[in-house]
């Protein structure tokens, strides 16, 4: 079929030029991938290596898959400590995040400077992962749950404030207008018309952050910041993988339970 020139039939529209971005994006991604996977510049990705060395992992896997349940009693106290750390950090982190998130949203803060500063600070805090905070804190103030709690609070704060401020950006502004029209102050306006709208999301974020904290506090124990992570690190140090398996199983159950509770709670509130 001969190609029809640009002057198509009377009724047919001309096909709009294809966006250049998508193929460009794909090419760039492919290039980055090739560079990142290479041996010299990158991580040295090789499927062959995995397959060759699978047997080495086999022994470890075998131990992991036969957990030593007798180890369980020794994990109870550290697990409780992890739990308490998560609770305290969630409460303080999400509590402080609430006013900060109002300041980080154009809806509730007209003053550009405050808004930009707040947003900036939150972005910086968010950039460091929790474990790195924990590392610095442990070196600065010593090992134990205190360092862990602070690390978690910083992490929480940033995550929750960002999520919340995005929610706030999307609220219905009608009731706020009504609050202004009735003579309310800015704080009263926020409390009466914005807050009720974001409450279900806020609770969802608190529960989400709590779950993240439980998982995170397990990990930050690795650098000595308290909780079950410390036990994990010790056992990994002994190569006692049957014990490690117990801990991982407990974490799995804990996270699973929290998710269950959190889904139930969220359903009741909405």
């Amino acid at each position: 079929m001969t190609a029809t020139p640009l002057q198509a039939d009377a009724g047919r529209p001309i096909r709009p030029p294809r966006s250049r971005l998508l193929p460009l994006g794909l090419v760039v991604s492919a290039a980055i991938t090739w560079w990142a996977a290479s041996d010299d510049f990158g991580v040295g990705f090789s499927l062959g290596e995995i397959i060759d060395n699978l047997t080495r992992g086999h022994r470890v896997l075998r131990e992991v898959l036969s957990p030593n349940w007798a180890f369980f009693p020794q994990t109870v106290d550290p697990l409780l400590e992890t739990f308490k750390m998560a609770i305290i950090a969630s409460v303080i982190g999400c509590g402080v995040a609430l006013p900060l998130s109002f300041l980080a949203s154009k809806v509730t803060t007209p003053n550009s400077v405050t808004y930009l500063v707040d947003r900036g600070v939150l972005n910086v805090i968010r950039a460091l992962p929790d474990l790195l905070y924990a590392l610095v804190l442990v070196t600065a103030i010593g090992i134990g749950p205190l360092a862990g709690i602070i690390a978690l609070i910083l992490f929480n704060l940033a995550v929750t404030a960002k999520l919340l401020s995005e929610t706030i950006d999307g609220v219905d502004t009608g009731p706020s207008e009504a609050a202004w029209a009735g003579g309310a102050s800015r704080t009263q306006m926020i409390r009466s018309s914005v807050f009720p709208q974001i409450l279900p999301n806020y609770i969802a974020y608190v529960l989400y952050v709590f779950e993240l904290n439980v998982r995170a506090s397990a990990v930050i124990g690795l650098v000595g910041a308290g909780g079950i992570g410390f036990v994990l690190q010790v056992q990994m140090g002994f190569f006692a993988y049957e014990n490690v398996a117990v801990i991982v199983a407990e974490l799995f159950v804990a996270v699973f339970l929290i998710e269950l509770v959190s889904i139930r709670l969220r359903r009741r509130l909405v």
């Binding site: 009608g174 207008e177 009504a178 202004w180 009735g182 003579g183 704080t187 009263q188 009466s192 409450l199």
Partner: protein, 257 residues
């Protein structure tokens, strides 16, 4: 009493929403404002409680200059002016009572409003407002579960709870069906007659304007082009205000019924 003195509003971008408006509304009057969309109705109403600041001229409410008012003074002025919106502007997630209590915020200290612990006197006022519009049984129902007409009545109750001297209504029935529109307009009329509150209503539908308005103000292109009684407002007058022949869209109830 509401006084506009050479009031003008020009939006960024150059649109002149209000041009040299001179208007006095005495206490206790029921005034209906008509005009095309964009003619300045909304701007006029929102200038009264300062939601839209004037670019020139003044507007006074009971002698107080709205444009010059400081934060606290402005809130005091607004507390005496209740407003009802076309889209109701209720907080859907919360109860009817909590919505009406928003009208008592100006009289509630900040710490009380933060934890939602209103004084008993304020709750009483809110309940009375709900009784006045006839839906107190729904006090604890979530606002989202009400029909459009009921939601608007909650909006009216919220305004009444302020114990205002003036009621502003910006197209209060535009989102409602004809029978409900009449119910709401009758409520507004009743409030004006029984409680003596100055009532200013923007209306889109001319038949409603004639039936419920004692004084009709016509706006066109930001200017006041008609100021007279409903009695004198005939079709010719409306055609002048609208600048075109009237269509079926301009009336609420269909003519042949």
């Amino acid at each position: 009493m509401i006084e506009f003195d050479k009031a003008s509003v020009t939006y960024p971008g150059g649109v002149q929403a209000l041009v040299d408006l001179d208007l006095i509304i005495e206490a206790g009057q029921l005034v209906v404002i008509v005009g095309l969309s964009g003619a300045g109705k909304s701007t006029l109403i929102r200038a009264i409680n300062g939601l839209v600041p004037l670019s020139g001229g003044t507007v006074r409410v009971d002698g107080r200059d709205v444009g010059r008012a400081s934060g606290r003074e402005l809130r005091a002025i607004r507390s005496r002016v209740g407003m009802i919106f076309q889209t109701f502007n209720l907080v859907k997630r919360t109860s009817v009572l909590n919505n009406v209590l928003m009208g008592r915020l100006h009289a509630t200290p900040t710490w009380r409003s933060m934890i939602g612990w209103y004084r008993r006197r304020d709750i009483e006022l809110a309940m009375q407002a709900l009784e006045r519009v006839g839906i107190v049984e729904k006090a604890y129902v979530r606002a989202a579960n009400l029909s459009g007409g009921q939601q608007q009545r909650v909006g009216i109750a919220r305004a009444l709870a302020q114990d205002p001297k003036i009621i502003l209504a910006d197209e209060p029935v535009a989102s409602l069906d004809p029978p409900t529109s009449h119910v709401v307009m009758r409520d507004l009329q009743r409030i004006n007659h029984e409680l003596g509150m100055t009532t200013v209503v923007n209306l889109h539908f001319l038949d409603l304007a004639k039936v419920y308005g004692e004084r009709i103000i016509g706006m066109r292109g930001g200017r006041l082009v008609y100021d007279g009684t409903a009695h004198d407002a005939n079709e010719q007058v409306f055609r002048d205000i609208y600048g075109r022949s009237l269509t079926a869209d301009d009336v609420l109830d269909s003519p042949a019924a």
